[in-house]
């Protein structure tokens, strides 16, 4: 892996994994969540991460976000602070929906009026206009997930200032899992629009293969226990989406059943 420095590309990748491993605990009870993962996200690339439940997708995202540290290998992070949509909504219970969306802006020191406007705009985007003053416990599961999405978007938009010319990065952990098909459609469209407009790189975890194929430029499949990169598909240039979907599904089935065996 010493060769990385020589082959440094002109534009730096937002994130690059070098044989990254992550083990939880020690001794007999330890769990190897990730093992020897090599992964690179190009600037502005939309990468979808697929894998069985419990294979290490969330762990991988946490490593990128700097919320956890690899027990082996090395992560090269070259983006501004990544924005994260967590798997659980994890809203702050003492803040309203709008307050939650404003939180990253507040911490970045954005003035109040601007914050307000931005939060309203983002809530509108996730189809929650007018519900800004609700508390998390007054929202439905899907609504909470959408607030969390809006919050993550708020945290990317603010980071343009301080990050300078570094590429930005958005990490999303099953952000649409609790949404009905129609809302999901709309938000997928919005996400693509934002992606194209901002040129941010996105690392997107999902269980829905069709969603992965629809959204991503590249689909990465992780194996289970330990999580390893098994296969990758370039789905943007694929001529037949349905065929790729089937192919990925088959691969996924193989990965999971090989583990179960």
């Amino acid at each position: 892996m010493t060769a990385t420095i020589d082959t440094l590309p002109d534009v730096l990748s937002p994130v690059r994994f070098h044989q990254v491993g992550k083990t939880f605990g020690t001794g007999r009870k330890s769990v190897v969540a990730l093992d020897g993962v090599d992964l690179e996200v190009e600037p502005g690339e939309f990468v979808c991460l697929l894998g069985a439940s419990g294979c290490g997708k969330t762990t991988l995202l946490n490593l990128v976000a700097g919320l956890d540290h690899p027990t082996a290998g090395r992560i090269e992070l070259n983006s501004s602070r990544p924005a994260v949509v967590f798997q659980e909504a994890a809203l702050m219970p003492w803040l309203t929906a709008a307050g939650n969306v404003e939180l990253p802006l507040r911490m970045a020191g954005v003035p109040k009026a601007q914050r307000r406007a931005k939060a309203a705009e983002l809530l509108e985007l996730v189809r929650l206009a007018g519900l800004g003053d609700k508390r998390p416990h007054e929202l439905s599961g899907g609504m909470r997930q959408r607030v969390a999405l809006a919050r993550a978007l708020a945290s990317t938009t603010d980071s343009t200032g301080d990050a300078g010319d570094k590429p930005s990065l958005l990490l999303m952990d099953e952000p649409f899992s609790a949404l009905d098909a129609i809302t999901r459609d709309v938000l997928q469209g919005e996400l693509l629009r934002i992606w194209r407009a901002t040129g941010t790189a996105i690392l997107f975890v999902t269980h829905d293969v069709r969603e992965a194929v629809r959204l991503g430029q590249r689909v990465v499949l992780l194996s289970s226990r330990p999580g390893r990169v098994v296969q990758q598909w370039d789905v943007e240039d694929a001529p037949d989406a349905a065929a790729v979907t089937d192919e990925i599904n088959t691969a996924l089935r193989k990965v999971i059943s090989s583990h179960a065996a």
Partner: protein, 289 residues
């Protein structure tokens, strides 16, 4: 018979407690009544038991004074206007002492909760301080500061600071770890994480600590007042109780205890209860579950 959930389910009794009281137009009075009547009822019951015990002459008068005798002591304070001074002297001291304690205890608690070295080094000492009775400090405080307010505040600080700091620490320890992680991911630095995530998240536990801290500072103040008596210090509730003790006037002792108690309950009902209700309600944690 079909089980009608709304009316007849087994848990209806329990559930009735869950259901938030509907706040219709005219119910303001009733809501306040529902809040004020039960403690008054409890007090009435207590006094009735007391009166009965007294009437039964179960204990001699010098052990258990008549409620009426205690009441007349208090009434005398009220009519003479002395009660205003008693309250003022004690309450303003307690409030000042509590405020200073807050200023010291919050940074201390944050340091203990966030820095492992401080937690391991200072944490046990702070808890140890908490287990020192205030009375133990009074003589030393008088020796160091003289018979004045500084000595009293010193005793109050030593009582309240460890309690508030510990309350804050235990509040912080119970914050779901996902929240600070989210905060970090949203760009919270060290200070922002404390200001915007940890402190508000720990608020319910911290409020409990504050309540305990208030209790400690009020207790410590009373202990200090009980022991340090001097005309320069003005006469507070503690001194009043002290006089009752030195006169072995049991009805005065009871009057003193009742007054100290009234302030305790009053502050609880007027300050901490509403604060706590607001905080808990805003996060969907009900006080009555």
């Amino acid at each position: 018979m079909p089980l009608d959930v709304q009316e007849g389910s087994v848990e209806a009794g329990l559930d009735a407690l869950d259901t938030p009281v509907d706040t219709t137009e005219g119910s303001r009075v009733r809501r306040i009544a529902a809040r004020v009547l039960p403690p008054i009822g409890a007090v009435v019951v207590l006094v009735a038991i007391w009166q009965a015990l007294w009437a039964a002459a179960f204990w001699p008068e010098f052990k258990l004074p008549a409620p009426a005798a205690v009441w007349s002591q208090i009434w005398q304070l009220v009519t003479s206007g002395d009660i205003a001074e008693l309250f003022w002297v004690s309450v303003h001291r307690a409030v000042i002492g509590f405020a200073i304690s807050l200023l010291i205890a919050v940074p201390l608690g944050l340091a203990i909760a966030n820095l492992t070295v401080v937690r391991r080094g200072i944490g046990p000492l702070v808890s140890g301080l908490q287990s020192l009775p205030s009375v133990a400090w009074v003589p030393a405080a008088i020796l160091w500061f003289g018979l004045n307010d500084r000595a009293i505040y010193w005793v109050v600080l030593l009582g309240a600071v460890p309690s508030i700091a510990n309350g804050l620490v235990s509040g912080l320890d119970q914050v779901p770890p996902i929240l600070p992680r989210v905060g970090k991911a949203l760009g919270a630095g060290r200070f922002g994480g404390i200001r915007y995530i940890l402190l508000p998240a720990a608020l319910p536990g911290f409020l409990g600590g504050l309540k305990q801290g208030w209790a400690f500072s009020w207790r410590s103040l009373m202990a200090a007042e009980l022991i340090a008596t001097s005309p320069e210090l003005g006469e507070g509730l503690g001194q009043y109780l002290h006089n009752g003790m030195s006169l072995s006037d049991i009805s005065m002792v009871f009057a003193g205890i009742v007054l100290i108690f009234v302030v305790g309950v009053g502050i609880e009902l007027l300050v901490f209860r509403p604060l706590e209700n607001t905080v808990l309600k805003a996060r969907g944690l009900g006080p009555a579950r």
